[in-house]
């Protein structure tokens, strides 16, 4: 398996919100990277916002990986949101009905306002 072509940087925004900046290719191979980012966000995070503005490629393995992240977040009673999705990737979220569990916002500002409610 080749090394995943992705970076995920975690930013803390306030006490309980973390933003994960995803840049590169989201495939099943990057599960360790995503889970490391999730761990870095820490248990004190109650709302996790995924920034997909740097998303370059995603296959069905990547969608499956997001589902497993969702399960982990639900188990910890953490809310998951996303923003920065292009029209193409937003349609994939809708097609796979992932948008019913991960709330999609247009911008970081609206995502942070949305999850703060």
């Amino acid at each position: 398996m080749t090394a995943p072509a992705i970076t995920m940087d975690v930013r803390r925004v306030g006490d309980s919100v973390a933003v994960v900046d995803i840049k590169g290719e989201v495939t099943a191979a990057c599960e360790p990277v995503l889970m490391s980012a999730y761990e870095a966000a820490g248990p004190e995070t109650s709302r996790l916002v995924l920034n997909f503005a740097g998303l370059e490629y995603m296959n069905s393995g990547g969608i499956g990986m997001l589902v497993t992240l969702l399960v982990r977040a639900n188990r910890q009673r953490q809310q998951l949101a996303a923003y920065g999705l292009s029209e193409h990737y937003r349609e994939i979220f809708e097609l796979t009905r992932l948008d019913e569990a991960i709330i999609i916002y247009e911008t970081e500002e609206s995502a942070l306002n949305g999850v703060a409610r």
């Binding site: 398996m1 970076t7 360790p32 990277v33 740097g54 998303l55 490629y57 393995g61 796979t96």
Partner: protein, 278 residues
């Protein structure tokens, strides 16, 4: 930061037509805005409800008008089941997936029917299934081709299917050898199916995909195919808010459709006779 970019990044830039300098200079956000991602053709277009025409050899019920269901919409515990097989160094991942996509129905175990498009497995296709569930009853349902590229393809299930989720078929290099794999990420769609999975359903499914991979291995020239099976319960919680999925249960509907089939045939015959004498 949790990880660094790997060698695939350069290859992906070349594939979308960027020079090395452009790829290095352009911010990812800009790249996403100016050029369509290279996965565009691999994904199915968005659909609200499935549309499908009748196909020979299958009953073709319980699919048209149904919505797709992923693991988020299912009822039962969430499972990830992986069936993996070494096909040796001679076959490339692309060759393995090419054969699998082109001849997909031929690898299914006896007694089960997969009626897909004649051109193989392509994004957006809907295939009709008749699955042997015992007692002479065929469960009629379908699958939707969510994603397909040269190294993988994914099927997603509609409402009423035994499980809500997707099955990804892929091939990759591991050392010198090519590994082929079917991976199911699923929840039983409703309480009836969940009970069925607990009482023999998981074993039956393992047998089904093991037989499928074995048949593929034989087609690819593997003398003695060995399939490794790994099951992981990803989420042990049941989603009771989706218990109402039972309304769409294709197994229950298939039983009624099987019972009603002779009467429907008689009705059609009578109607035909009436119209020909009129």
């Amino acid at each position: 930061m949790t990880e660094t970019a790997g060698p695939d990044k350069v290859r992906s830039a070349e594939e979308i037509g960027l020079s090395a300098r452009e790829a290095a200079a352009a911010p990812p956000e800009g790249a996403a805005e100016t050029a369509p991602p290279r996965d565009v053709a691999s994904w199915a277009k968005k659909v609200e409800r499935l549309e499908v025409e009748q196909r020979d050899g299958v009953r073709g019920t319980n699919v048209a008008g149904r919505r797709l269901t992923g693991p988020v919409q299912g009822f039962g515990k969430m499972w990830q089941k992986t069936y993996r097989m070494n096909v040796g160094p001679q076959i490339t991942p692309e060759q393995a997936i090419g054969v699998w996509r082109q001849h997909f129905p031929e690898f299914w175990p006896k007694g089960n029917r997969f009626a897909g498009a004649l051109t193989g497995v392509n994004p957006g296709d809907v295939a009709l299934l008749d699955l042997a569930i015992g007692g002479g009853v065929k469960l009629s349902t379908g699958v939707f081709v969510l994603y397909a590229d040269s190294e993988s393809f994914t099927l997603m299930t509609p409402q009423g299917h035994m499980f809500a989720g997707w099955i990804t078929f892929m091939a990759e290099r591991e050392g010198d050898d090519t590994m082929v794999q079917a991976q199911v990420l699923m929840r039983a769609n409703d309480p009836i199916y969940e009970l069925g999975m607990m009482f023999g359903g998981h074993r039956k499914e393992d047998k089904f995909w093991t037989a499928t991979l074995t048949a593929l291995g034989q087609r690819l020239g593997v003398p003695d195919p060995v399939v490794q099976v790994r099951s992981t319960c990803v989420d042990s919680k049941r989603q009771w808010r989706h218990a109402g999925n039972i309304w769409h249960n294709s197994a229950v509907r298939s039983v009624f459709q099987t019972i009603a089939a002779p009467f429907n045939r008689m009705l059609r015959r009578d109607k035909g006779a009436t119209s020909s004498t009129a």
